[in-house]
C-alpha cells in the first residue's frame, strides 16, 4: 500500500510538473515545473531500483540541463512575452495530444503483459560499470564523441561575429 502511495505521489508530481511546464504563462516558472517533473522521474527510477540512473537524472537533467535552459531564457528574454507563449494551433494540439494519450493508454492497458512483478534487486554500481565499459564500451565511446562534437558545434554556432 505504501508502495502505491509513493508511486501515486511521484506519478502525480511527474504529470503535474509536466502540465505546469507546458501551460505556464511564465517561462521561468515553466523551467521550474520542468525541474519538478525531472526529479519526480528520478524518484520513479529509484522505485524501479535504478539508483545510478536516478543519480544521473538528478545531476544531469536537474542540474545541468535545467541550468542551461534557464541561462538560455535569461539571454533571450523578450519584453511582454507572457501573452504570446502559445501559438494559434493550440486547440488542434490539444486534440492531437488527447488522441495520442488515448491511443497509448488504450494499447498499454489492453495488452496482457507477461510479467507483473519487477525482477532482480537493486543494481550495484560495480555491475553498472562492468556493463558500460565491457559490453557497451564502443557505444559509450561513440556517445562521448557525440558530446564532444555537440560541444564544439555549440561553441562555433554561438560564437559572436561569425560569417554574417
Amino acid at each position: 500500500m505504501a508502495v502505491w502511495l509513493g508511486f501515486g505521489v511521484l506519478a502525480g508530481a511527474t504529470v503535474a510538473g509536466a502540465l505546469g511546464t507546458v501551460t505556464s504563462r511564465n517561462v521561468v516558472h515553466a523551467a521550474l515545473f520542468l525541474l519538478v517533473t525531472l526529479i519526480a522521474v528520478a524518484g520513479l527510477f529509484l522505485m524501479l531500483f535504478a539508483e545510478f540512473l536516478a543519480l544521473v537524472q538528478v545531476l544531469l537533467y536537474g542540474g545541468a540541463i535545467v541550468l542551461v535552459l534557464l541561462f538560455a531564457l535569461m539571454l533571450t528574454r523578450i519584453r511582454g512575452t507572457a501573452a504570446s507563449l502559445d501559438n494559434p494551433q493550440r486547440p488542434l494540439a490539444i486534440v492531437a495530444a488527447l488522441a495520442t494519450v488515448g491511443l497509448l493508454l488504450g494499447v498499454v492497458l489492453s495488452t496482457q503483459w507477461p510479467v507483473q512483478q519487477p525482477g532482480g534487486g537493486p543494481v550495484g554500481f560495480p555491475q553498472w560499470g562492468a556493463s558500460l565499459f565491457r559490453q557497451w564500451a564502443i557505444p559509450f565511446e561513440l556517445a562521448s564523441v557525440v558530446l564532444l562534437v555537440a560541444l564544439i558545434g555549440a561553441v562555433v554556432i554561438s560564437r559572436p561575429g561569425g560569417e554574417e
Binding site: N87, Q89, L92, A96, A97, A99, T100, L103, V107
Partner: protein, 614 residues
C-alpha cells in the same frame, strides 16, 4: 595478294592526316594525298600481277559476331575488283595531280585534298569489299564525299543546293539498297556477297524475293548512277570544282551503281524480270538525257548529261547480259569522260568561259588542250579506232544477241545522238568563229601539271580499245579476263560494226552541217528541243511534288505538332502542374509547429491502423 587492303587504307589514312594537319605538311597536304593514291595505284599493279599468277582470292577477318551472324571485313580479289581497282586508282591519281594546279589558290586547299583522299578510299573500299554490309558503308561514304566536294564552294548558294540535292536524291536510292541488302540477308542469313550469289544461283531464294531484292539493289544503283528518274542530281553536280566533276562522273560516284549491278550480276540473272527492268530503264535514261545533252549550252552540263546517257548505256548493256560490254564501256567512258572534264577545266582555266555559246575557234589558241579534248570526244562518240568504239560495239553485240530489233534500233539511235552531241561540242567549241567578246583574247595553255594527266588519260582513252583483243599479261581479250568463269572472246559482227561506223559518220556530218554550215534542221525540231531544254520538266515535277505534296503534308504535321503535341501535351501538362503548384504551395507555411502537428496526426492515424487492423 593479302596486302590489297592497303590500296583503300592508304588514302583513308591520308584523310585525317591531311584534314587536320594539312597546313604543316608538304604541299599543304596535297603531296601526302597524292602519295597515298599513288600507293594505291602501285598496289593495283602488284595485286594485278599477283592475281594473274594465282586465281581469284578472298580474304576476310571477323569484325564482330552478333547473334550467330558473322559480320566480316573482307575483300574479294577477282577480275572485276582488280579491274575496278585499276580504273579508280588511275583516274583518281590523274585528277589529284591535275587539282594540284587547278585548285592552287583555294583557301581550303588541304581540305579539298583530304576529301579527295577519303573519296578514293571509300570507292576503293567499295570495289574491294566482299560483303554487302561493308559495301553499304563505303557506298554511303562515297555519297558523303560527293556531297562534300560538290558543295566545296558552299558559300555559293547554288553549290550548297546542288550538294544537298545530290545527297538527298542518292539517299532515296540508298534506302532501297539497304532494304535490298536486308531482304537478301533475311533470305540467306549472310551478308557475304559470294554466299548470297551462291544461294541465288542454286535457287535457295524464292524467285519473288529475288526479284524484289534485285530491284531494290537496282534502286540504289539508280540513285548513285543517276538513272531516270533519280538522274536530276548529276547535272547540278557540276557546281563543284571541275576536277571533282571529273572524278564523280568518271571513276567514283556514278560507276558505283554500275559496279553494284555488275557485282551482283548473278543475282540479277537469277531474278526473273530484273534484267529487263535494268535494260529498259537504262535505255530510257540514255535516250532522254542524250537529247538533253544536245540542247544544253553549258559545257560541263553537256558533259554531265552525256555521262548520264552513257551510264544508261552501260545499264542497257548489263540488262542485255552484256556483262563484258557494260564493264568495258565503263572503263573507256571513265577515261574519256575524265579527260573531257579535265579538258573542260583547262578551257575554263585558260579562258574563263563555261558556256559554249561564248566559245569558238579555241583550236588556234589552245592547240594541245583542244587535241586532247577532241580525242576524248571522238572516243566517246565511238570513232574507230579509239576505245569508245570497241566498247560500244561490244554493247551493241550484246543487245543484238539478247534483245529484240526494237531495242537494237533504239540503241542505234542512241549511238547517233551520242555522236551528234559530241560532234556539236567539237565543232562549236574548237572550230568556227571566235564568239567570245573579249575574254578569248588572253586564252592560254594550261601549266604542265594540268597537261600531264590530260595526256595520260588521252593515251588511255585512245589505247583502251586494244583491250578488247589483248590485255597485257593475260594473253587474251578483256572478255576472257572479266567474264565469270567461262571466258568470252571478242566476237565482232561485221555488219554491226559497219553500221555503227556509218551512224557515227552520219552524226558528224549532221553536226558539221548544222553547226558549221548553218543547216536549218533545228527549227523543225524546236518544240522537242524546248522540251529537252526544260529537262523534260523533271525538275519542275520534283519541285511541284515537294511544294504541293511534301510541304503541305509537312505543314499539317507541323500544325499537329504545334497544337496537339506542344500546346496540349508539353505545355498543357506543364501548365497543369504549374497551376496546381501555385495553389498547393500555400500549405508550406514555414512554421515548424504546423509540420509537427501533421506528423503527430499521421502517427496517431498510423498507430490506430496498426492496433485496429491487427
Amino acid at each position: 595478294m593479302e596486302w590489297a587492303w592497303i590500296a583503300a587504307a592508304a588514302p583513308l589514312a591520308a584523310f585525317p592526316l591531311v584534314a587536320l594537319r594539312g597546313k604543316w605538311l608538304p604541299g599543304r597536304g596535297a603531296y601526302i594525298s597524292i602519295a597515298a593514291i599513288g600507293l594505291s595505284f602501285v598496289l593495283f599493279w602488284l595485286v594485278g600481277a599477283d592475281f594473274l599468277r594465282r586465281q581469284a582470292d578472298h580474304f576476310s577477318i571477323t569484325w564482330f559476331n552478333s547473334g550467330g551472324t558473322r559480320l566480316a571485313l573482307g575483300m574479294i580479289i577477282d577480275p572485276l575488283s582488280v579491274y575496278m581497282l585499276g580504273i579508280v586508282s588511275v583516274v583518281a591519281l590523274g585528277v589529284q595531280v591535275y587539282s594540284l594546279k587547278y585548285m592552287e589558290h583555294e583557301p581550303r586547299f588541304s581540305w579539298y585534298f583530304a576529301v579527295q583522299s577519303l573519296f578514293a578510299a571509300s570507292m576503293l573500299g567499295l570495289v574491294l569489299s566482299d560483303n554487302f554490309l561493308l559495301l553499304y558503308v563505303t557506298w554511303e561514304l562515297v555519297g558523303l564525299c560527293s556531297y562534300l566536294l560538290i558543295g566545296f564552294w558552299f558559300e555559293k548558294r547554288s553549290a550548297a543546293e546542288a550538294a544537298k540535292k545530290a545527297f538527298v536524291t542518292t539517299r532515296i536510292g540508298d534506302v532501297g539498297l539497304l532494304i535490298g541488302i536486308l531482304v537478301l540477308f533475311k533470305a540467306t542469313g549472310s551478308f557475304d556477297i559470294g554466299t548470297v550469289i551462291q544461294a541465288a544461283e542454286s535457287g535457295q531464294i524464292s524467285s519473288g524475293t529475288l526479284t524484289v531484292a534485285a530491284l531494290l539493289l537496282f534502286a540504289g544503283a539508280m540513285g548513285k548512277s543517276a538513272q531516270f528518274p533519280l538522274h536530276v542530281w548529276l547535272p547540278d553536280a557540276m557546281e563543284g570544282p571541275t576536277p571533282v566533276s571529273a572524278l564523280i562522273h568518271a571513276a567514283t560516284m556514278v560507276v558505283a551503281g554500275v559496279y553494284l549491278v555488275a557485282r551482283a550480276f548473278p543475282i540479277f540473272e537469277a531474278a526473273p524480270g530484273a534484267l529487263e527492268v535494268v535494260g529498259w530503264l537504262g535505255l530510257l535514261t540514255a535516250l532522254l538525257t542524250a537529247t538533253m545533252a544536245l540542247v544544253m549550252t553549258n559545257l560541263k552540263q553537256v558533259l554531265a548529261y552525256s555521262t548520264i546517257s552513257h551510264l544508261g548505256f552501260m545499264m542497257l548493256a548489263l540488262g542485255s547480259i552484256g556483262f563484258t560490254g557494260g564493264m568495258y564501256h565503263l572503263m573507256t567512258h571513265a577515261f574519256a569522260k575524265a579527260l573531257l572534264f579535265l579538258g573542260a577545266g583547262s578551257i575554263a582555266h585558260g579562258t574563263g568561259l563555261t558556256d559554249i555559246k561564248d566559245m569558238g575557234g579555241l583550236w588556234r589558241k589552245m592547240p594541245l588542250t583542244s587535241t586532247l579534248f577532241i580525242l576524248g570526244a571522238l572516243s566517246l562518240a565511238g570513232v574507230p579506232p579509239l576505245g569508245g568504239f570497241f566498247s560500244k560495239d561490244e554493247v551493241l553485240a550484246a543487245v543484238y544477241h539478247n534483245q529484240g530489233p526494237v531495242v537494237l534500233g533504239l540503241t542505234l539511235v542512241l549511238a547517233l545522238l551520242s555522236a551528234l552531241y559530241m560532234a556539236r561540242l567539237v565543232f562549236v567549241v574548237f572550230f568556227g568563229p571566235d564568239r567570245s567578246r573579249e575574254s578569248g583574247v588572253h586564252a592560254h595553255e594550261s601549266p604542265w601539271q594540268m597537261v600531264v594527266p590530260l595526256v595520260a588519260l588521252a593515251y588511255l582513252a585512245v589505247t583502251s580499245g586494244a583491250a578488247a583483243f589483248y590485255l597485257p599479261g593475260t594473253g587474251e581479250g578483256l572478255g576472257q579476263f572479266l567474264f565469270w568463269e567461262e571466258g568470252e572472246a571478242f566476237h565482232p559482227l561485221w555488219w554491226l560494226i559497219i553500221a555503227s561506223m556509218v551512224i557515227v559518220a552520219a552524226g558528224f556530218v549532221i553536226a558539221w552541217g548544222i553547226y558549221q554550215r548553218g543547216w536549218r534542221v533545228a527549227r523543225a525540231l524546236e518544240p522537242v528541243a524546248r522540251l529537252a531544254r526544260r529537262k523534260y520538266y523533271m525538275d519542275d515535277l520534283y519541285q511541284w511534288t515537294i511544294d504541293r505534296v511534301v510541304l503541305v503534308f509537312a505543314g499539317m504535321v507541323a500544325l499537329f505538332d504545334r497544337t496537339v503535341v506542344n500546346d496540349g501535351g508539353v505545355n498543357g501538362s506543364g501548365g497543369i502542374v504549374a497551376r496546381v503548384g501555385k495553389r498547393l504551395r500555400y500549405h508550406e507555411t514555414g512554421r515548424v509547429y504546423n509540420y509537427g502537428l501533421v506528423m503527430a496526426g499521421a502517427i496517431v492515424v498510423l498507430g490506430l491502423m496498426v492496433t485496429l487492423l491487427r
